[in-house]
Assembly symmetry: none
Homo-oligomer: 246 residues x 2
């Protein structure tokens, strides 16, 4: 059973080596975090090398939730951080690990579900995944040697989480803000993308993919309530009706 | 040559596995630290496994100073920290990594020479070594799973050093880009309101004012860049074009 304390989920995106998954589990549990999600692990699941490396943190692997893709893994989350270098060409709030975990704690205190995503070891996070995040966590590494591995990145983020909650009872605030969940943002993105596609918005062809990503990135960056999402759906439906009336 | 910036030396006391020495070098250089001292490494020196693991941080191993014992390794230092669990039976100032690196920075600024000691992997630091330190650095780990390894301990301490010397949060906003001004949000609101009015979105009549206010409120609440605003204008223009084509 995961601990009762409310905390962010740590989401490993397509991790490659079992050893790194195990080391990430250790790094999480070193700082009292025990909600791991894993997207499409390269070598399948369960993974004996992960278990061997995790040793005392093996429970996190037993209880890890496995997902096919990023959208599914963060579907129930209200706010998602991506740990990555500053992305080129995507506009996104960039936070230090400390500022991010302060923010995460505040959100969790308001009843939001929060996740932190970590990219695959070698290739790093893809822009498609980054675009789904509400904010970036950027570790202030030496620019001449910025190569943090997965487990180190998990460790530092977990450390900042613990610094934030240690000695303090993470008491829950009852008033849950009516923020849209990630799945609702995803559906809104799909709706706009489909209709704008029909309307011929994604033009010229060679820019279409980039335009779609920018649009998705914008929606996920906006702090949206359920009511906002409903209104935006309604606006688009009305534009389509208007067109159909001719 | 070590970097010109004044910084603490990191002292590895009787490290056992070369891999851990290499990983410690990486962890140091990730955060711009490059003064490594090593006391009596178990497998001799140089160590090929250390070199293989250090990869991009190999220079630290080339330049590492090797000592026979702890007294010699810290002989030139004015102030020494020991990273270890809280010692039983020794009365000593205990600092968090953050407080310790703040203190270290202040001392270095006053011209003191400062070192941080790290114990051997398996056995931890001996009381003899701890007794030589002026203060203890204790990482706030989960008491149910306190097992940090050498490289992790180096990494976290290095991270706190860097947080101390780099103005991390100054970089919070600079990657976020070109925010739209209020007048641009206003024009976007007008554009959407006008077209949605034509399209018959604000219906029924007695709710129209409230719907318009909600929409305006939503736009002004969103953290929007110029690029977002342009994209949103473009989307609406395209929907209108689509309608007009019939």
């Amino acid at each position: 059973m995961p601990s009762a304390q409310l905390q962010p989920a740590f989401v490993l995106i397509r991790p490659q080596m079992g050893e790194n998954i195990g080391a990430a589990a250790r790094g999480m549990w070193n700082f009292g975090l025990d909600r791991m999600r894993i997207i499409d692990p390269r070598d399948g699941w369960p993974n004996q090398k992960a278990v061997a490396m995790a040793s005392g943190a093996g429970r996190l692997l037993d209880e890890a939730q496995i997902f096919d893709d990023t959208a599914a893994a963060i579907a129930d989350c209200d706010y998602v951080y991506a740990t990555t270098a500053r992305p080129r060409g995507l506009t996104k709030l960039v936070l230090s690990p400390e500022a991010a975990m302060q923010d995460a704690r505040a959100r969790i205190g308001q009843g939001q579900k929060v996740a932190v995503m970590f990219g695959p070891e070698r290739s790093g996070m893809e822009n498609d995944d980054i675009a789904r995040a509400n904010a970036i966590i950027s570790v202030p590494v030496n620019p001449d040697f910025p190569s943090l591995n997965l487990a180190q990145c998990v460790l530092l983020t977990g450390y900042e989480w613990r610094r934030e909650v240690v000695d303090v009872d993470a008491s829950r605030v009852d008033a849950v803000g009516d923020w849209a969940e990630q799945i609702e943002i995803e559906k809104l993105s799909d709706h706009y993308e489909d209709r704008l596609q029909e309307a011929g918005f994604f033009y010229p062809e060679h820019k279409a993919e980039n335009m779609k990503m920018n649009l998705r990135n914008m929606w996920s960056r906006m702090p949206m309530t359920r009511a906002d999402v409903q209104m935006l759906h309604g606006m688009m439906r009305q534009m389509v009706r208007w067109k159909e009336r001719g």
